[in-house]
């Protein structure tokens, strides 16, 4: 399996910073996004009636007035669709049937000839609710006496690595029991206990969700959407509706930002079910920005309790970790965050004694789903601050403390797995050097204070053990290549990587390679989902395999035509050459029409179509009681970030002066794009560190627009963000590569928090580190 990687050869354009294949389309405005498709005059518009209550029974729904409004073509309620839907746990109806569980939960849908008429029809739908007491805190929700949000939890279909507790609000409980923490505490010279309450944040893609669906008379359904997961959407929607996957076609163009919110299924099922009531006409549902804030996936809130201890020499001996994940109304996707954080709960450190309990708790909050980092930013926010505190408590430099304890090749990890080769120490050293760790520069004004902070991270792709990828490489008459993948271009550059890998594995210039777009589940090869920072590694392996398959077909054909050995042939720059006879032939035409034999004796070859797939086969289960097992995950990407900040003592405002990021990506297939991910992720991390938080009061969102949910603007980013690539190859990655997309935003919050502490000597607590929070913390500490 590891052939290409162990050869350690990097043909061009592997490792080259080639320009993006989709850049020209995007800068000319010709790149199509889901709301840009033209459907003609038959297009109908959908709107959704949503619950104003965080928790209530539905007593009565009366849609009669809505149905009579001229221009209304269909009205749908939960009574029409009894199927449940979910990725790891089917706990959700498409439209609510007996109760609503968060403000915005869909109760009814309308299709009409205009968005305005659909809106008016929504207002005419009467719903009678009986409000129920709500759960707004996961620790409280985990208690046995809390109101029960999912009485049928025991009946839900669930993946075999998720452990719900029926009769409670706990939809997953992941445990680590390693060594003996109770025996270890007395051996520690310092023990600290801290609690960090990390608020909900949201993805905020600049493109809101949009889905258009059409149901044909023959029962086939087509869904056009802004989607990271066309195949998962096809699968989950088909299952929920009792349909064959082959009767659901998902067409997925460029995505205007995903970060996880367009993975799995959220509003797409609403569009499909409304369209099925209409039959024969496309129905478009688009979320307003306000609806996006209220009802799209959110990043779960977290209550994290850390207890950790070390010796005075700086050795971490024990960690006790309790996570209460605010999973929201439905945790069909979020349950796996509980697990992923559990099996990573020590952070990237070797700790001999670990006790972890990670709970996913139902609450009457918006639905927690996958967001860049999948639990890692939330976890590291508190954990990396505790690490700093331990270091400072024993008067050790925080960088030195991390050097001692960070995972290295061969380290025993929290699940018992052995760490594969990793460049984490190198990332740490390089980040510290780049930020000039240890040097404090004078502040820019007398009322300011400067500080530096550092944080490490790790993350494994969180997915089922058998998430698969496949790819096709087709050759065209003129020798150009068309790559087909099921992975989505969400801005991270996956199409460019696919083109580079196809070019590299075949032997053609990258300019000859096109990537088929949009992804279409009828024509594109299967890809589990575009999540988990898995495409470069997993889809990449499939593309490389498909390229090698096509190459093999070509070389065998030419070898036959020339009576030579395929081993003596090669493809370089789009030409097949023989090292033996020094013959050469262009790929043009032969890749479709084959090669004529001499003396008109027939033909050899045929249309070349390379295929490849990849699925990891070595991930093992973990013991349900101890969380131990030989191979919990496929691999970890590790890294470090360091920041220099300046705090304004008059206002509490934190300015990020400089940022440094260093990540071990195994092999940078396109170094410039890897750096671009590091920069962009740093800024998204900075934004969550300084500005972001969903303000939920009794389940009602107070800041549901850009006016009051602030994200970083061009004026908020530092003067420079230095991106450092470290390459310790991944044994089964294409040319050694592993992912970077999520990791780039994981350690930013604690790096900033540690820097603020360095600047003003106050630990401000949980993010966001708004000027108010910092100022009032300074006031409490008597600094101002």
């Amino acid at each position: 399996m590891a052939t290409q990687a162990t050869k350690r050869e990097t043909p061009h354009p592997i490792g080259d910073s080639v320009p993006r294949v989709d850049a020209r389309e995007k800068v000319t405005g010709s790149a199509l996004f889901a709301d840009d498709f033209q459907f003609g005059p038959g297009l109908l518009y959908a709107r959704v009636k949503r619950s104003p209550h965080p928790h209530a029974l539905i007593k009565r729904i009366d849609t009669s007035k809505a149905r009579l409004l001229p221009g209304v073509k269909a009205v749908v309620t939960g009574a029409d669709y009894p199927g449940m839907i979910g990725l790891y746990l089917t706990d959700r109806y498409i439209f609510c049937r007996d109760r609503v569980r968060y403000v915005g939960d869909p109760v009814a849908g309308v299709a009409a000839i205009s968005e305005d008429i659909a809106e008016k029809a929504i207002d005419l739908i009467e719903v009678e609710y009986e409000p129920l007491p709500g759960v707004f805190d996961p620790e409280i929700g985990a208690r046995p006496e809390a109101p029960l949000l999912h009485p049928d939890l025991g009946k839900y279909e669930v993946a075999n690595f998720i452990f719900p507790k029926p009769g409670t609000n706990i939809s997953n409980h992941f445990r680590i029991r390693k060594g003996d923490v109770e025996a270890a505490w007395p051996q520690c010279d310092v023990v600290i206990e801290r609690t960090y309450r990390i608020p909900h944040v949201q993805h905020v893609p600049i493109e809101p969700h949009v889905a258009t669906a059409k149901a044909e008379e023959n029962g086939k359904v087509t869904l056009w959407g802004s989607s990271q997961s066309p195949f998962a959407q096809r699968n989950l929607i088909a299952k929920a509706l009792g349909m064959s996957q082959s009767d659901v076609q998902v067409v997925a163009p460029y995505v205007g930002g995903g970060f996880g919110c367009k993975a799995g299924v959220s509003m797409e099922a609403l569009a499909v079910t409304i369209a099925m009531k209409v039959r024969g006409r496309p129905v478009k549902l688009r979320l307003t920005r306000e609806e996006e804030f209220h009802t799209a996936f959110v990043r779960q809130g977290l209550v994290s309790h850390f207890k950790m201890g070390c010796t005075k020499e700086g050795r971490l001996l024990a960690m006790e970790v309790r996570f209460y994940w605010d999973g929201g109304a439905y945790t069909e996707y979020g349950v796996n965050i509980t697990r992923a954080s559990g099996y990573s709960s020590t952070g990237p450190y070797e700790v001999p004694n670990v006790k972890t309990d990670s709970y996913c708790v139902y609450t009457n909050h918006p639905v927690g789903g996958p967001m860049r980092g999948f639990g890692m930013p939330e976890m590291h926010s508190g954990l990396e601050q505790c690490i700093d505190e331990l270091a400072l408590a024993i008067n050790m430099d925080p960088v030195q403390f991390r050097k001692i304890n960070c995972v290295k090749t061969g380290s025993t990890l929290v699940t018992g797995m052995k760490m594969h080769p990793t460049g984490l120490s190198e990332c740490l050293v390089k980040a510290a050097e780049a930020i000039a760790w240890g040097r404090k520069d004078p502040p820019s004004a007398p009322n300011k204070r400067r500080g530096k902070g550092i944080a490490l991270m790790w993350k494994a792709p969180a997915m089922p053990p058998n998430a698969g990828s496949s790819a096709k490489v087709a050759l065209n008459e003129d020798g150009t290549v068309t790559v087909s993948v099921g992975g989505q271009e969400i801005g991270q550059g996956s199409f460019t990587i696919a083109a580079q890998m196809a070019a590299g594995s075949l032997g053609v210039p990258v300019e000859w390679v096109r990537v088929a777009t949009p992804v279409n589940t009828d024509y594109s090869p299967y890809e589990w989902q575009t999540v988990a920072s898995r495409l470069t590694w997993s889809m990449g392996n499939a593309v490389a395999a498909a390229g090698r398959d096509a190459r093999k077909q070509i070389l065998e054909m030419v070898a036959k035509a020339w009576s030579e050995n395929p081993e003596d042939l090669d493809i370089i720059d789009g030409k097949v050459i023989s090292y033996k006879s020094e013959e050469s032939i262009s790929l043009k035409n032969i890749v479709i029409y084959g090669i004529p034999l001499p003396n008109d004796q027939g033909w050899v070859g045929g249309p070349v179509l390379g295929r490849g797939n990849f699925m990891p086969t070595y991930v093992t289960g973990l013991d349900a009681e101890t969380g131990q097992g030989p191979r919990a995950v496929v691999h970890y990407t590790t890294g470090a970030q360091a920041v220099e900040v300046e705090v304004d003592m008059d206002t509490g405002k934190v300015e990020i002066l400089r940022g440094v990021a260093a990540f071990d990506v195994g092999k940078a297939i396109n170094p410039d794009m890897v750096k671009a991910q590091m920069e962009g992720g740093f800024v998204q991390g900075l934004s969550t560190a300084l500005f972001e938080g969903l303000q939920l009061k009794e389940g009602v969102l107070q800041n549901s627009s850009f006016v009051d949910y602030r994200i970083a603007t061009s004026t908020d980013v530092p003067q420079s963000i230095q991106a450092i690539i470290v390459e310790v190859p991944q044994d089964d990655g294409p040319w050694g590569a592993r992912g970077i997309g999520e990791h780039a935003m994981v350690p930013t919050i604690p790096a900033v928090a540690n820097a603020i502490y360095d600047a003003i000597g106050v630990r401000v607590g949980a993010p966001p580190y708004t000027s108010e929070k910092v100022y009032l913390a300074m006031e409490e500490a008597g600094l101002v």
């Binding site: 306000e290 206002t651 006016v707 108010e772 100022y775």
Partner: protein, 298 residues
């Protein structure tokens, strides 16, 4: 709860009158269901959110010459209601004689929003957070208003009645904001504390302005206007009086800041707490006075 925000604007009729008198008559005739429209940046948001349901939007941009900036070295500045904030910022006369207005406009939103936003609109919207209102107050701004009875003037100091409420009556159209010549040696500054470095609404906004004045016991007059800490843009007369009657210097500035702290009545909201806002009023008032004092030669 803005989950009720609609995907599109509600239905209304767009009316473009040819003259101010046509506009005033139409607005008066349709009182309660018609609204004057300049840049629309506040109106469209409110209508889509379902708060405003006007049947008519009456476009009053540039009627009868209200789209011009006029500076007269003898009498002062007049900014027509239709002048957008970018145009104000780009005007050589405004830059030379009223730089505080430029500073205030720069703090508003974004360049593309300022292509539509107007100072007159900012004033008529009467949000206590209005960024240009403080500058207009301290510069002694007055409004020229056209109503069914013709033109009249209204000082800004008595214009605001509450959040979103002004002395304007049905039929009234603000046609210009005018400012007297600035006193010799005057200078001002606007400290706006937002969440982002630029473009946000203010958590608090502090406008300070000062100039030598022999009629004041201290020899100087200072003006202080606060945004986002009261139901209306707040002029801190107690601090102004103190500074006019006590020796100017760091102690006076500290006391003035304390008076501003006492005078303001902020609330807790999504942007900030009352406690923080009061603390920031105090700090930024002191800082503003120190800055202005340095500029006017103190």
């Amino acid at each position: 709860m803005t989950i009720d925000a609609h995907p599109e604007l509600p239905e209304f009729d767009y009316i473009r009158p040819a003259t101010l008198m046509e506009a005033s008559r139409f607005l008066a005739q349709h009182a309660g269901e018609a609204r004057p429209l300049l840049g629309g940046t506040d109106i469209f948001v409110r209508m889509r959110d379902g708060f405003w349901h006007d049947k008519y939007l009456v476009d009053v941009k540039n009627l009868d010459g209200t789209g011009e900036i006029r500076f007269d070295p003898a009498s002062g500045l007049s900014i027509g209601a239709g002048v957008n904030m970018n145009q104000v910022m780009a005007s050589p006369d405004v830059q030379a004689h009223y730089p505080l207005l430029v500073e205030a406009c720069r703090s508003v939103a974004s360049y593309q929003l300022r292509t539509r936003a107007t100072i007159a609109g900012n004033i008529c919207n009467a949000s206590p957070a209005g960024d240009t209102i403080g500058a207009c107050l301290v510069l002694g701004g007055a409004l020229k208003i056209h109503g069914v009875d013709g033109f009249r003037e209204a000082p800004l100091t008595t214009f605001f009645l509450g959040p979103g409420k002004t002395v304007l009556r049905p039929g009234d159209v603000v046609t210009a904001v005018s400012f007297p010549l600035p006193p010799k040696g005057s200078a001002g500054t606007y400290y706006k504390l937002g969440r982002n470095k630029w473009s946000d609404l203010s958590i608090v906004g502090v406008t300070t302005y000062g100039y030598p004045d022999k009629t004041a016991a201290s020899g100087y007059r200072f003006h202080i206007a606060l945004a986002s800490v009261a139901p209306v843009p707040l002029v801190v007369t107690s601090a102004q009086e103190y500074l006019a009657s006590h020796p100017v210097g760091p102690d006076a500035f500290k006391e003035a800041a304390r008076l501003a702290y006492d005078a303001c009545q902020p609330i807790d909201d999504v942007r900030g707490s009352a406690r923080y806002r009061k603390a920031m009023v105090r700090r930024l008032t002191e800082k503003g006075l120190v800055t202005v004092w340095a500029k006017i030669g103190g």
